[in-house]
Symmetry: C2
Subunit: 224 residues, 2 copies
């Protein structure tokens, strides 16, 4: 007789699927980013810039999450990158099941990098692991300096914080120093980049960090 | 024997409490706004400006919804207005039960206007009626012109759209014409105001609309 023990700390269905996604990405050596922010903080523009930075060196694909429309997927597709659009209907976040379904579209592809653009929402997406290597949070300076303590979970679970739209700092009242200080106090390991994706400011450090992370994951499977 | 018939179209618990709130506001003649937007679109600054516009003429109170912190409540309190802070913990929206609880704090007050500032989120708050007279959605131009079709529910259920931060239009790529056209196509009855709350631009039309609505509700109970 086979006995199945129910572990006390049982993984939820979502966490189990996230783990399956994670194992697939490990096997394939694919580095996976999960981009999260408020609506309009610049996720899609960051994605466009990131594709331009990486596409000559690495094989790339994108999963676009939106409640409705395929505007973002069209923007990305025009850059010659394979993109799968997930329309969540009403759902305010992506989850690991949606990602697992979308991954079927890439089953034949050898990918160095997969970038997932989550639904624009600073709250709910923070609660769902997708199987990614890095949760990247984008905060635009126009949203204000008080955001870290107002949305603490997002700042705690992020591995990277991108402070975007710094070109608008002369016209608004926002201290990036305070953002950085408060974000670090919530999450001392947070990697922070200050950028303007539309004006192409501050992209080099982001590119260097990405290249290092992508190669680390890639060489891990080659070394096996 | 008393028979209770379960109606087919039974109201959910949330909708029932929203109805109770609504009836209380009717009895008291209190005009109630529910302010909703992405994080950092300018809800609290709109609230500050609105209080300045109305407080000499009307009796006012505020309910502040935040996931964490009482930053906004402190900003409002400093204007001499009674404010109750709701910290939702993780919850990404306010609901009618939270409002009902908060209303106990105002039970002795005769209020012309109650302004509820919802959690910063363009998705989930749209699904919850609180018993308000008007759902007011704030969209800042820095969020981009593509938002109406990307977050259609919020634009459909709003009675008022405030397009905020118009002072930043010279520095960004955003067409308010497109926002207005798309928003109207989703919701032909939408009342739209273009403003900069920080620079105090476009506040007069908003003030006139508010005064008319507040007086309508107030005189309704006086006329009874």
């Amino acid at each position: 007789m086979k006995q199945i023990e129910i572990k006390k700390d049982i993984l939820s269905a979502h966490e189990m699927l996230a783990q399956e996604n994670r194992e697939l990405f490990e096997r394939k050596g694919t580095f996976v980013l999960n981009l999260m922010s408020s609506p309009g903080a610049g996720k899609t523009t960051l994605l466009e810039r990131t594709i331009e930075l990486l596409k000559d060196t690495f094989s790339l694909a994108v999963i676009e999450g939106d409640i409705a429309t395929s505007y973002d997927a069209e923007r990305i597709s025009s850059l010659g990158v394979k993109v799968v659009q997930i329309n969540t209907g009403g759902a305010c976040h992506l989850d690991s099941a949606m990602i697992k379904n979308a991954l079927a579209e890439f089953s034949a592809d050898r990918l160095d990098v997969l970038i997932i653009e989550n639904v624009g929402n600073l709250v709910c997406p923070a609660e769902f692991n997708l199987g990614e290597d890095a949760k990247v949070m984008i905060l635009s300076v126009t949203e204000g300096e008080d955001k870290p303590f107002k949305y603490p979970l997002m700042f705690r679970i992020a591995r990277v914080l991108i402070i975007n739209k710094v070109d608008l700092l002369p016209y608004i009242d926002c201290s990036t120093k305070r953002i950085i200080r408060d974000a670090i106090s919530l999450n001392p390991d947070l990697k922070i980049f200050e950028m303007s994706c539309t004006k192409k400011i501050g992209l080099n450090l982001w590119k260097e960090w990405l290249k290092e992370e992508i190669n680390k994951k890639k060489y891990k499977i080659i070394a096996r």
